[in-house]
Amino acid sequence: MHPLRDKTAVVGVGASPQGKIPDATALSLAVEAFKRALDDSGLRKEQIDGLLTMPGSTSPEAALNYLRFGETVGINPRYTGSKVMGGGTAGALLHEAALAVNAGFANHVACVFGDAAATGGSRFSRASGWGDSFAIWGFMAACANSAITAARHMALYGTTSRQLGEIAVACRYHASLNPNAVMRKPITIEDHQNSRWIVKPLHLLDCCLISDGGVCVIVTTAERARDCKKPLVLISGMGQAYTTENMEREDWWYVPHQKLALADAYKMAAVGPKDIDVAQLYDNFTSSVLVWFEHGGFCKVGESGPFVEGGRIRLGGELPINTAGGNLSESYMEGWLHIVEGARQVRGECGERQVKGAEVCLVTGRGQALNCANATILRKG
């Protein structure tokens, strides 16, 4: 048995209001999320002795965010730090928190993120590449990397834009059942097809939102978690992997590291794709979700297009995904809300959007220019 399997737990989750919140800041949203997660866990602030943060795109203190946040909420942690891996950060910090409490570096670690990207302007349109930036050729913005993936997937496997639309439509349907989601009006495949091009082959409705909001997740040992307020959510498996060679690695476009991250998480938890009741798959763009199905063994390489058809990924289907709406429709919290929803599904507290009997949830994260990936298996205790 893997020594980290089921040794740690998510005991508190909290999210601030999401959307466009002009009088808030990245910091104030993070603080509100922290307070709500504390309340959710039943822990007192004084019990939080670990603090891991991700600075938002609008946090001026950048990687010193842990100092700014810690000072604001009056914590002097035994273990702390900030990490910047875009959408790969939430999962990476969750894992770091699990390792820290398992090692005894801290007893209760709060993982925190806040951003005012909708109000404060965004940095999501910057060019990739160092030195001679690819912007010389007009290659810029997060959407472009995922469009590269989508275009090649379509060319190699015959994947269609309508299949990408299935993912957008499913996420929106789930958001329609989530009172806290930003975009709740259901859409159709035709709406998706008629939405304007952003970076072709991706339409507007293939793209995530840009949002203000904060999220906090509190982690402790499984043993301590039994004394907390809510039903036990065990961290059963964890995996991370990275491809930092964008241009040098031929299959970079296919994010091969995602498969490694998933394999490690499955192995630690001793589960496989057939055991997953519900999945929260990182969806910065619809095309990102396709590749998760292939790397996670839910379908064969190249077959994720047909896989998402026919309601399979909607509530009531074989593998409901992004049951709160995801980055595409709930709010763009760079994957932090995927962990929150994963914990809530396993607890069984999702009301109308609850996957009946959900005991095992896969949560994935990815970030930067297709560089960072992580996977977590949450399991009902």
């Binding site: 030195g131 690819f134 007009g138 472009a144």
Partner: protein
């Protein structure tokens, strides 16, 4: 010709050979003197064997479209007269891949797998940008 306002490289000792090559109509990249790996992006160090020894080598300029996207969204005002414009990830014959544009045809005329060859676009007196055009199937 109006002033060129789109992003330009900052020519440094590290990248000068690439941009001087383009001015002379040659696509040039760094080849490791120890392991022979041809690398891109430009770097002082071979990502395969970590050697600092390299030479600049002329490439054929031929390759094929590895992936291909068309920017409709305007992310940088300097491109406002260009949208929609294409960006191709080009697989070069000698191994490296690079981003560039396919010129001389409609955006819809290009697809993944198409054979391309480098052409050189002098945008300022100092900078010539390597781009690509479709190779005729007969060639």
């Amino acid at each position: 010709m109006s002033e060129y306002t789109k992003p330009l490289p900052t020519i440094t000792d590290e990248n000068r050979e690439f941009w001087e090559g383009a001015r002379r109509g040659k696509l040039r990249m760094q080849k490791c003197r120890d392991c022979g790996h041809i690398r891109y992006p430009i770097s002082h160090c071979c990502p395969k064997c970590l050697s600092y020894n390299f030479e600049w080598t002329d490439l054929s300029g031929r390759g094929e479209v590895f992936s291909y996207v068309v920017f409709h969204q305007l992310y940088n005002q300097a491109f406002k007269d260009d949208v929609p414009y294409n960006v191709a990830l080009v697989q070069l014959e000698e191994g490296p891949r690079m981003y560039s544009n396919v010129v001389g045809v409609d955006n819809d005329a290009v697809k993944v797998g198409d054979k391309v060859e480098a052409v050189f676009d002098p945008v300022t007196p100092e900078v010539t940008i390597p781009r690509f055009r479709l190779r005729q199937p007969a060639k």
